[in-house]
């Protein structure tokens, strides 16, 4: 909020000048977080501060959220119109979540509250805290806006928050970061002990696994652990991923971050094995190197070069004969990888189609024979 609404200003002035407010109730941070999350989905109302909750969840049935509409030519409040009973602006929301300056039920409308900038300075009801030490139930405020933090920082340093974001958004729950224009505040009268040392709690995650938290020595709960759980086993471990081709068309069911997911087999280098290893929809279409093709070899039919035929590396002689009693010569690894090898057995045959000897292979054979002849003579 850049300016106060009239109602808000009057109430804020009352807040600031009236010394007889009750201290905030002694309660754990979880109670504030619950009150805050119960506002999600209610409308933004300039100068408003009420909504209905059912535990930690919003009650959008008993109490219909209002509707905020920017006036013609405007993009937001205060040049806006609100209809309906319930709604809050940013500072009305945090004031009510924090129960300051007085404790009221969340559905109590038109009660005293503070303005956003109030939360940037020390106060008898809250203390300013460093932005790099925020905890759930803290507030983060600038001169124009205030936000309720509801979780510890995530791996990147952002926080989950609830905030009355604006007329077109309403009260939202999201992950966000804060610029240096924000400062942190922590309400007083937070219960100093909310659990017993050694206690632990477990929650079920999405559709697999759990998360845990433990009560630490300061008798406060630790942050929740990430969701994790064992992967399915046996028949339940096999799955078919969407759109996978070749060996990527089969997958393994995993439990990831609390959700079952079909993890496709990884695409690998295409080798000569009758399998679409690189998952491009074509079998055995790798490079000569990856397929183990073009290497000199000998078999009972004579000297030849290796070629990938029907998922196996065969030795093909210049006349087109294949004999699978093949002796690979130096440098031939039997197929360039994990693929099958045709070395073994002895049946000379004439390949057709893909089995035809490539010219390059034939040239290599000739070159190899010449080299061998020179070596022998030498």
């Amino acid at each position: 909020m850049r300016r106060l609404g009239v109602v808000g200003a009057v109430l804020a002035a009352l807040c600031a000048s009236t010394p007889s407010h009750a201290a905030p109730p002694e309660e754990p941070p979880e109670a504030i977080v619950c009150r805050g999350t119960s506002a999600e989905g209610f409308s933004y109302e300039w100068g408003g501060e009420c909504w209905c909750g059912n535990g930690c969840a919003p009650d959008l049935t008993s109490c219909s959220p209002g509707v905020c509409t920017p006036n013609a030519g405007s993009t937001g409040c205060p040049d806006c119109t609100h209809t309906g009973t319930y709604g809050a602006d940013c500072s009305g929301f945090v004031s009510k979540a924090w129960q300051v300056p007085d404790p009221h039920a969340t559905d109590a409308c038109d009660v005293a509250r503070y303005v956003a900038s109030s939360f940037t300075a020390e106060h008898s009801y809250w203390n300013v805290v460093p932005m790099n030490a925020l905890e759930p139930a803290d507030a983060v405020a600038s001169s124009t806006h205030v936000i309720l933090v509801i979780d510890y920082e995530d791996p990147f340093g952002e926080h989950e928050v609830v905030e009355a974001k604006g007329c077109i958004y309403g009260i939202v729950r999201q992950s966000r970061t804060f610029s240096a224009s924000y400062s942190g505040a922590r309400r007083v009268s937070l219960s100093s002990c909310v659990c017993s040392d050694g206690d632990d709690e477990t929650e079920i995650c999405g559709d697999c696994g759990t998360r845990q938290r433990t009560c630490e020595s300061n008798c406060l709960w630790s942050p929740w652990s990430p969701c994790d759980g064992p992967d399915p086993t046996g028949a339940a471990a096999v799955c078919t991923p969407d759109g996978g081709e070749g060996q990527c068309a089969t997958g393994q069911q995993l439990c990831v971050a609390g959700w079952l997911t079909c993890q496709a087999a990884e695409a690998t280098t295409e080798v000569c094995d009758g399998v679409d290893n690189d998952c491009d929809g074509v079998v055995d279409n790798g490079t000569p190197e990856s397929l183990g093709e073009g290497y000199p070899c000998t078999n009972s039919c004579g000297a030849g070069v290796t070629e990938c035929i029907e998922g196996a590396v065969a030795c093909v002689t210049p006349d087109g004969g294949i004999c699978d009693t093949t002796t690979p010569d130096a440098g031939v690894d039997g197929g360039g990888g994990a693929g099958g090898s045709a070395f073994g057995g002895c049946n000379c045959r004439t390949p057709g189609g893909p089995g035809s000897l490539p010219l390059v292979g034939f040239i290599m054979v000739l070159a190899w024979l010449a080299w061998r002849r020179r070596s022998t003579l030498g």
Binding site: R2, F156, A164, Q174
Partner: protein, 321 residues
Amino acid sequence: MCKQTSWLSVTVLGCALGLFPSVGSAAPSSGDAEPWLFLPWDDTVGRVLGNEADSEGPKSFAIKPDGGVLLLDQVNLRILDLDADGELVRDIDLPAATFDDVEQYDGWAVLALDRLAAQTLLVMDPVGTPLAEVGLPGRGIDRSGLVTAMLPRSDGIWLEVGHRYSVKVLDRHLQPCTRQIVMGRPVERGHSLHGALNGQGGVTLRRTLRNDRSATGGVTLTGQAPVRRIVWLDEDVDGTVYAVLNEAVFSPTTPYRVEQERYRMVILNEGLQELARLESPWVLTRYDQRVEVRVGPDRRLWQMAFTGDGVHLLRWDWRAP
């Protein structure tokens, strides 16, 4: 002053001639950055004089394969499609002002994400014709407000949740698919990037095969000051890794203001060995935004930064001598 007088007049040349960024007292030195474009508030982009929570500057931007930029001007219900010279090609209309991220997919689709209101991902063709729309809540995404990044990859569109894991919501044909989930941020060639503050002022980075729980190792990055936040983490087409870190020093006394901060840009190879470091003085301001940095197809780091005068687009070439 690098300021326009007409709608989207190109300021590239003026900026490149060193006039940039002497725009208002809040503009830092451009450092090693190449200023690319400056757009003043209100009359060209955004609405800085809002009365509600945040300003309404562009929440996000994306780099197109041709070197142009998509700028999410959500408050004006549009995406600005700019060519490689910064000239306006077209406005792409948006149905609402609540979109907060934009991306492009392989040059033929524009993606607009509305996490908080409609909670949808809108797919459009390059001129803005809607092609598809997918709801965000569902398997892997309990709360759409916790989506922390939109990641177009060759195998589809992934949404990162809480900076912990990512959910594939559209396949490579941009059709809804059975949702896959991987830890970290998926990158190409079956890998993922993982980044996390280490609680000691540094950041731990890992690059693993997707969902490889046996992977160990990684590197620890530190800066000249404690790292407060990982601003961006991504990989380019060649497997080069880019980590942008927000270093900040807080006053030890109340109200614990930030005394100094900067962005440390660390470039690493796919084995996570450092190749280069850059320093950006441009940081998040009170004019909040969601996406500040992108890795372009030109392997440059692009940054969108705000000052009191307007929106700055800068790019950083880490290979420059």
